[in-house]
Symmetry: C2
Subunit: 408 residues, 2 copies
């Protein structure tokens, strides 16, 4: 597998564009708010979406659109979520029809995606007005990927984009992804959106299977603030232009595709956690020695979701009692007397708890370990051999600032 430039345009046959359509009149003048991703041919496609009981219109409509396993275009906007909004379905269908006409693709192959404020009508008229220019800007180079990656950003501070070349079935295929926001199971309200493109050939069924497995071990293991959005979406389009023998079953080729998807999603999910609202630290929680992987995951998530632990990491305070406490209320059965906890970073490794009891450690070393940008909370249980890693970020003044006055 080889890191390459190009983002979602790295795979053959994909082009993209982004611009400022003025979805919300008050949005910054230089900020793209509308993006388009187009494959030159119809794609096998799969998606995973929020499990929130309250779903934005684009989410349940995309689920319908993906029922036949094909799609060709994604149109995505920021600023307005189109959730709990007047005319939610109507505005989505209007978008689909507009894009279908403009690109001469089937309306049933157009996916729509939105992120932003809830409860406000999507200004589809602004999208209609901007569409001709957006289509004219479609570009199959890194520039196109960049423009749409920027269009979906909201409170993100860095663009999230990556691409790889990989071998599958004797051919070189490509896969790229862009994303925004900070989570899947527990994303910030700013919503997680992720679009993956590949020129590998695979059936919609195999894409769906690979996507669910990969999302389960990546995006579903990050959290910024425990709030699950109404709009979370992760979609993959596979247009088959790499000409590998089409993947229709599990096996070596399926594993190769899944491994490439995993690398893309791992990179994006870590970047999303690190870029969580107001974050100053990437907080990685590795749980090993668990009875099974599900237990390890629940424990890790409980730790990265603990407001007290997150605030302690912000303060570079080796307050391991909060880590053990968060494990204790996770619902997982384990013996606290067999737990060890270390803090690890590029600056070193400090053991703070052994057999469930505090051990003497140098506060100075701990401070220096916890002051690095990525801090690993390394938890070892005495229950078995399973492990899982989860990612989050610290809780800071800026998180409160951003979310105390986001809407107005």
């Amino acid at each position: 597998m080889k890191l390459i430039p190009g983002g979602i345009c790295a795979a053959k046959g994909f082009s993209a564009a982004g611009l400022k359509a003025g979805i919300k009149p008050t949005s910054p003048a230089d900020k793209n708010d509308l993006g388009l991703i187009v494959s030159s041919v119809p794609c096998a496609a799969a998606g995973v979406f929020t499990t929130n009981r309250v779903k934005a219109a684009p989410v349940w409509l995309d689920k319908e659109q993906l029922a036949d396993g094909t799609a060709q275009v994604i149109i995505a906007n920021s600023s307005i979520a189109n959730a709990c909004a007047p005319d939610g379905e109507e505005t989505c269908r209007k978008e689909m029809a507009l894009v279908s006409d403009a690109l001469d693709v089937k309306a049933s192959d157009v996916l729509v995606s939105s992120t932003g404020v809830i409860g406000v009508r999507l200004n589809v008229e602004a999208i209609e007005a901007a569409l001709p220019e957006l289509v004219s800007k479609l570009n199959d180079s890194a520039e196109g990927s960049d423009a749409v990656a920027r269009a979906i950003m909201t409170t993100d501070t860095v663009k999230k984009e990556i691409s790889y070349a990989f071998e599958v079935g004797g051919k070189t295929a490509h896969i790229g992804g862009i994303s925004k926001g900070s989570g899947m199971i527990h994303p910030q309200m700013g919503t997680m959106l992720c679009y993956l493109t590949t020129d590998a050939c695979a059936s919609a069924e195999m894409l769906d299977k690979a996507l669910r497995e990969v999302v389960g071990k990546t995006f579903n293991r990050i959290s910024v603030d425990g709030d699950m959005s109404t709009n979370d979406t992760c979609i993959i389009l596979a247009n088959g232009l790499a000409e590998n023998p089409c993947i229709a079953n599990e096996g070596e080729d399926f594993e190769a595709l899944k491994a490439a998807m995993y690398e893309v999603c791992l990179y994006l999910c870590r970047l999303m956690a690190q870029d969580g609202e107001g974050a100053t630290h990437l907080m990685t929680c590795k749980v090993s020695g668990a009875a099974n992987e599900a237990d390890a995951e629940v424990l890790g998530k409980s730790v990265i979701n603990s407001s007290l632990t997150k605030a302690a990491i912000f303060g570079a305070d080796a307050n391991w009692g909060r880590v053990l406490c968060a494990m204790g209320y996770s619902g997982v059965d384990f013996d606290p007397d067999k737990v060890s906890i270390s803090f690890v970073s590029e600056a070193g490794n400090v053991l703070v708890c052994q057999n469930g009891r505090g051990v003497d450690f140098s506060e100075e070393t701990a401070k220096s370990v916890l002051s690095e940008e990525e801090v690993i909370i390394d938890i070892v249980l005495g229950e078995g051999d399973a492990e899982a890693t989860c990612w989050g970020c610290d809780l800071t003044y800026d998180y409160v600032k951003i979310n105390g006055d986001y809407r107005t």
Copy 2:
């Protein structure tokens, strides 16, 4: 029922004292850190405790002590939680023996309670040294209650204490309570401790039943930050000196006692939420029209635990989408299209969502409603007739400040 002064000393036969024992050498010079509550005669007693898998030594030892339904003394300290600490059981048993000797009560009737930092050995030598002075200060007036209420405070900014007189079985009885911290199911790490005293006569079994019901509708419905402590404790001592016919069954007298307990706990739990770390608003979430009370409670808790909703309330931002979103990921089955949401306070009432869709409202009115100290999020579902109220607080810069550097 009549509000009276006296706190936990309002009931006949109870005395209390508090002082600074220097449990932690670095604690402020003028801050009590050790308290004692004593009944002149043995009491029927009941307690409810944290369900965290990681339990402090005082929690599991008090559970043992309460197995026989009797107790006479509570000794409580702040600064050190005696959780995951070296010699946890040994230091608790030493405390029990010391108090037993000093007061000539059975060691099995002494309850111990701690709050503070995890993983540090409880300095029982400081308690031993302070005990003679503490005993000499025992006082059956409001002064005694005040001293112990202050001894258990940690990051609390206000003392939490109340007492009532009530009629039961043709006699006037009294009930009082003190508490610290901010939660039970989801308390801050600072831990919730609550001690109730009454001179009503009731069996330990009836006390336990009443306490569980009342805690379920009060302390279990507040949350500050979703973190459940290792030390949470709520204990009631009933010494029978009011001479009412002893309550051994459900019925009118049981209901009278439970109603008095409810008033005390309701007052204390609201005050705890309001005094949540860094809080500037008491956030009350009332859910009605639910299919059943359990659903209403889960929905209300999901809202008061949402970091995004809490930050919006801090910013006086009528961001109702975050409320509906938090309901959506609560796990409760409901129809979002039948939900109405209003914000209510002393400044007025503003309907922001009807039938799951945003409605036009005055941002100016909303700002003024949300700027009051208590803000009620009034949610009406279209599922049934059940309701529940939960209490929380906003998420502020000060929460991050307090918790980013609590331990050191």
